[in-house]
């Protein structure tokens, strides 16, 4: 990098001068240029010298020494196999997560929106549909189950690249330093997202703040680093995957397991230990871990007979038997329902442009009843098969309120104020004929834990937005 190089980029010289002053200005410009170049050269030389000095320092002992990492199967091919699985899995997690965010209809105002400062990060929001009615059950079941199932793959991927953490010198260039900073967001992000998600589905609320906010913004931090990492490494991954044949690997025994050829990334051990397992064995162990997690988890999202197979998942048993024996998100006791508020004195208030209506449960039961078979699907990933609900159509109640083409409805519960004690539903949700203010389920009155005297049930709606113990509906244009 000698002085007097190419002229700087156009536009960096300040405004153009009229031609009469050209010669004079040219001279000054040259001097400024020369000075800047000299300064740059000096600066770069200084950095160069520093880098050279760091490079010449021997690495500290332990993991920084190249001979420390000895696994004979660690190498670009194995890393790329795990990387490929995550390259498919992580985008599915991100998209299903974003869909869940949209399903809460945060666009309907502060009541629904726990991340009012989301700004551009909510750019993709759309009106959450009611078709197909099992949509949220599927997307959120996939989100949570896939997240759990990918845990061994993430661990294996991180294991496979651990020598890179202790690379010496820590950075050989500005490019590498920046990339490593991005890796902090990548690794911190992936662990943060998996940990907060996995703790939340077990109702173990130890993370610092609202899960909704942390998991949402954390996802953006992570995905920004993930996209960069994937795009910077994509070519290296495909090259590494082509370097060995998967089927051949699957037939290679322990005696024939050899390290991969040395790689520029330094993943391959310089002094490999004798192999204790094959690549096939490593992949089988990680895959086996994923399979085992799938078996002990997926049943809570499938329901029916398979619910019992989800041995370690939170919603793996039915809380009771009979018509109301299906899964409960929050019991009446847990949210502090006052029994007096849901006793004989309970009334449903319907607000609209016209006069307010106050109805007893008997009056509601005397009105034309409709049926819908709909599941409860929770953000925590569990769900129930379709339950047969009976009650009043939200569309009919909107007409009763004097606003048949209502654009939204505010649903309020008797439960004490807190998250999800009230929610706003959109016009498309009101007008779906399967959207009910349910009074009965599976041929019996709602139980208190399922929202007696009345609850909302809307197709494809996140469970927590199917408000229970409803006492007021406010229809708006």
């Amino acid at each position: 990098m000698d002085s007097g190089g190419r002229p700087p980029a156009p536009g960096s010289d300040g405004p153009q001068r009229p031609s009469s002053e050209k010669g004079h200005a040219q001279g000054r410009l040259e001097r400024v240029r020369a000075a800047a170049a000299a300064l740059a050269t000096k600066g770069t030389a200084g950095i160069r010298a520093l880098v050279r000095r760091v490079e010449q320092t021997p690495p500290p002992p332990g993991p920084f020494r190249p001979g420390f990492w000895r696994s004979p199967i660690r190498g670009p091919w194995l890393t790329s196999v795990f990387g490929l699985v995550l390259l498919v899995g992580i985008p599915i997690l991100f998209v299903t997560g974003a869909l869940s965010y949209a399903a809460y209809n945060p666009g309907l105002g502060t009541l629904n929106d726990q991340t009012p400062d989301k700004g551009l990060l909510g750019f993709y929001l759309f009106d959450w549909p009611t078709h197909p009615y099992w949509l949220y059950r599927l997307t959120q079941g996939v989100h949570v189950t896939l997240g759990v199932v990918l845990v061994p793959v993430v661990l294996a991927k991180l294991w496979s690249v651990i020598p890179k953490l202790f690379e010496w010198p820590p950075a050989r260039s500005a490019a590498q330093a920046l990339e490593r900073l991005s890796l902090l967001a990548l690794v911190g992000g992936v662990v943060f997202e998996f940990v907060t998600g996995i703790l939340n589905i077990q109702l173990y609320y130890v993370f610092p703040g609202s899960f909704y906010t942390l998991h949402f913004y954390g996802a953006w931090v992570f995905i920004a680093a993930f996209v960069v990492h994937a795009s910077l490494k994509l070519r290296r991954m495909t090259r590494a995957l082509r370097s060995r044949n998967l089927l051949t690997e699957m037939r290679t025994g322990l005696d024939d397991t050899q390290p991969e050829p040395p790689d520029p990334d330094g993943l391959v051990a310089l002094g490999p230990a004798a192999p204790t397992t094959t690549r096939r064995g490593a992949l089988a162990m990680v895959g086996g871990g994923s399979l085992l997690l799938l078996v002990v988890t997926a049943g809570q999202s499938i329901g029916g007979r398979l619910r019992g197979t989800a041995l370690l998942a939170p919603h793996n048993r039915d809380p009771g038997s009979g018509p109301n024996g299906f899964q409960i998100n929050k019991t009446a006791a847990a949210v502090g329902i006052n029994p007096a508020h849901v006793g004989p004195d309970w009334r449903l208030e319907i607000h609209g442009p016209g006069p307010m209506l106050v109805l007893t449960r008997a009056q509601l039961l005397a009105m034309p009843q409709h049926a819908a078979a709909l599941p409860i699907a929770c953000v925590e990933g569990w769900s129930t098969p379709d339950q047969r609900w009976n009650g009043l159509r939200l569309a009919d109640l909107a007409a009763l309120a004097g606003i048949p083409d209502a654009g939204s409805v505010l649903v309020e519960s008797v439960q004490p104020p807190g998250p999800y004690s009230s929610v706003v539903l959109r016009g498309n949700q009101i007008h779906d004929p399967r959207s009910l203010l349910a009074l009965r389920v599976n041929g019996a009155d709602l139980s208190l834990d399922h929202g007696y005297p009345a609850r909302v049930i809307v197709p494809a709606n996140p469970g927590v937005n199917n408000t229970k113990w409803v006492h007021r509906l406010t229809f708006r244009t």
Binding site: L121, L158, G188, L203, P208, G218, S231, T276, V296
Partner: protein, 167 residues
């Protein structure tokens, strides 16, 4: 361009992509850190440290120690490689514990009240799964041992055929 590469260490596209990513990261981080910034930062960076500098070294050390300790037992008989019969069930039981430990150790206070499900069942279930995994591994190892011993006996007998021939 060549000068840039020499100075920066990679092409300009690398720099552009990284800056774009950092801008998004910054945009989300401001919001992530809006409430209780220090604790969130500790969780975020701590997540990477917890994995890279605690969990991974611990399990690597456990694996190496298991191999080292048991390697020095002078084998009276030829032994097949055995570490995977210990490694695999430990890994499987370990990931189950890693994912489901709040339920296994009854750490979630709201869970029983919220779901109306008793919490106490998970430790027993996890232990039962662990028992099945290790028992299956032990059985697989026993079968392997038997095969190896039979093979050794066969090779021992071969050098002296007819010595102990039946009358």
């Amino acid at each position: 361009m060549a000068r840039f590469v020499r100075w920066y260490g990679s092409g300009p596209l690398h720099l552009l992509v990284l800056i774009a990513s950092f801008a998004i990261t910054g945009y989300a981080l401001v919001r992530l850190f809006a409430v209780r910034p220090l604790e969130v930062a500790i969780w975020f960076v701590g997540a990477a440290i917890l994995h890279d500098l605690i969990l991974l070294p611990l399990y690597s050390l456990a694996d190496l120690s298991a191999q080292a300790v048991l390697r020095h037992r002078a084998p009276r008989m030829p032994q097949p490689p055995w570490i995977n019969y210990l490694r695999v069930p430990t890994f499987l039981a370990g990931v189950l514990l890693l994912v489901w430990f709040p339920l296994i150790f009854d750490l979630s206070i709201p869970y029983p009240g919220a779901a109306r499900l008793p919490e106490g069942v998970y430790l027993g279930r996890w232990l039962a799964i662990t028992a099945v995994l290790f028992a299956a591994s032990a059985l697989a190892f026993a079968l392997k041992l038997r095969r190896v011993h039979r093979a050794t006996r066969a090779t021992k007998e071969r050098p002296a055929p007819g010595h102990d021939a039946a009358p």
